[in-house]
Amino acid sequence: MSVLIFAELADGSIRKNSQEAIFYGAKVASQTGGSATVLAIGEASEAELAKAGNFGATQVLYVKKEENIMAYAKILTEVVKSTGSTVVVAARSALSDAVLARAAGALKAGFAGNVTALPDTSAGFTVTRSIFSGKAFAQTTITSDIRLLAIKKNVIDVTAGSDTAPVETLSIDTSAEDGSAKILSVEKATGAVSLPEADIVVSGGRGMKGPEHWQPLLDLAEALGAATACSKPVSDLDWRPHHEHVGQTGVKVAPNLYIACGISGAIQHLAGVNSSKVIVVINKDPEAPFFKAADYGIVGDVFEVLPKLTAAVKAL
């Protein structure tokens, strides 16, 4: 099968989650005897784009373009047609949701989101996807000629090689889509580790007692090179910015390590973190429900425990 991977670019290089998507797409291509082509839209140098080869891509098609959902979807749709691709892979994100959705409409293509494993292509095309915010999985067969897959983050163990892939720059007319929206401003957390892509997340709840008490948590996050997050009540109270809110209606994270500080573990919070590989819970209430979902637990005062953890990390 000809596989096309839609790769997202950030700060001039291929996003980590998109590297996972490329690796996944290349596996599907080799499993079915096809090619793995990357489509990258945005801003990146040829040398950075060629690194898609590290993850198994055999070719990179590049369109230099400012972000515009409608234009990106048009480009993806055109490239699926021109390359004759029958499988399209992307990392699940707000951007890929929007772009793949429009491509699905244009191509009459079946879509499976939050895919967690390689497809079974022995008879038809069946993937496993996570549903109910990680509380279950569904074996889903896609019956259309073109299949669109959004891969859940941190479910594919990537092994990077040293091959590079040739880069070809394309020009696709998107004049009909370009006027559809105008970006007025972009606010991005600066300097910090990106929460959706972080390997380690340190998260605080109401047990942190107020925004002025966040320093011990920030210290641990800094020592670990971790992203910071928070529970819904904390973001509702404006103690922390909304984009840090993880949970059912917030960001869904899937880090290797999630450290919850003063979070009781309501089911809506667990829905955002239950794909984490290892969960540590620190709470002064031994009855906090979060301990049932944890791998390691400490019953104690977060303000006493956090400095000890930070000191231990620094001593490694």
């Binding site: 793949l100 409409g105 915010s133 999985f137 896609i142 259309s144 606010e187 984009h243 059912q248 290892v278």
Partner: protein
């Protein structure tokens, strides 16, 4: 302004998830169904926009008759009329095709829904509808204001937010804090009983098919570490869990 709000009917987010008939069906017994939490935000903002600017709010559900309590609740919250497309929602493509088939040529200025449903979490119906109707689409939208035909939105991007200007008509997938959830008033509940609810036959076909379901493996027991010895956790994370 003519607004269409698409709502899903989904298990309450605290539901215990289980499957039956050889793991081929979701076990509905004892499950409380609610308006999709993200759809509920979209509905709340639609009602606010109608109250501020005039116009109408139509609520649409793709589902069987058992979704009608959720549709009536949306009417009680402030929608004017409702449409139910009489079929089990099978997949994103078919649900979007049902919505697009209904909305085409009806002159909606805004088509709102949640960023994703909380059962299948796919998050693509709004975009497919937008493509099918030739309207721009954006998601996840956290702020929405309409000034004449100008639409100002803020949407979430990885690690932040982006403000955009676009124009009507547009399709939006919504999430908090676009509006506060609304609780129906007694007057709203009484009024909802007599508001029109049309039932329409389905027309779309699905492109995916769920073969079976499974639950994740049970979690092992939690390992407790005494607070006095908190530092030893870091060693365990390094040598035992191997995540540092």
């Amino acid at each position: 302004m003519k607004i269409l709000v698409c709502i899903s009917s989904v298990p309450d987010t605290t539901s215990r998830i289980a499957f039956e008939e050889g793991n081929t069906r979701f076990a509905k017994a004892g499950i409380q169904y609610i308006i999709g939490p993200y759809d509920d935000y979209a509905l709340a903002r639609a009602v606010e926009l109608k109250e501020a600017n005039g116009g109408s709010v139509t609520v649409l559900n793709v589902g069987k008759a058992d979704a009608e309590p959720q549709i009536r609740k949306a009417l009680a919250i402030g929608a004017d009329d409702a449409v139910r497309i009489d079929t089990e929602p099978a997949d994103s493509y078919s649900v979007a095709a049902e919505i697009a088939a209904y909305a085409r040529d009806k002159g909606f200025d805004l088509i709102l829904m949640g960023r994703e449903t909380t059962d299948y979490n796919s998050g693509v119906v709004h975009g497919i509808v937008g493509e099918m109707l030739g309207m721009p689409s954006f998601s996840p939208v956290m702020e929405l204001n309409v000034e004449g035909s100008k639409v100002l939105i803020a949407k979430e991007i990885e690690g932040g937010k982006e403000k955009l200007e676009t124009s009507l008509p547009v399709v939006l997938g919504c999430q908090e804090p676009i509006a506060e959830w609304k609780i129906p008033s007694m007057r709203g509940i009484m009024g909802a009983r007599t508001k029109p609810l049309a039932v329409i036959a389905p027309s779309a076909e699905a492109l995916t098919d769920v073969r079976s379901y499974e639950l994740p493996p049970a979690k092992g027991a939690v390992k407790m570490i005494p607070a006095e010895d908190a530092g030893s956790l870091i060693k365990l994370l390094q040598t035992e869990a191997k995540v540092l």
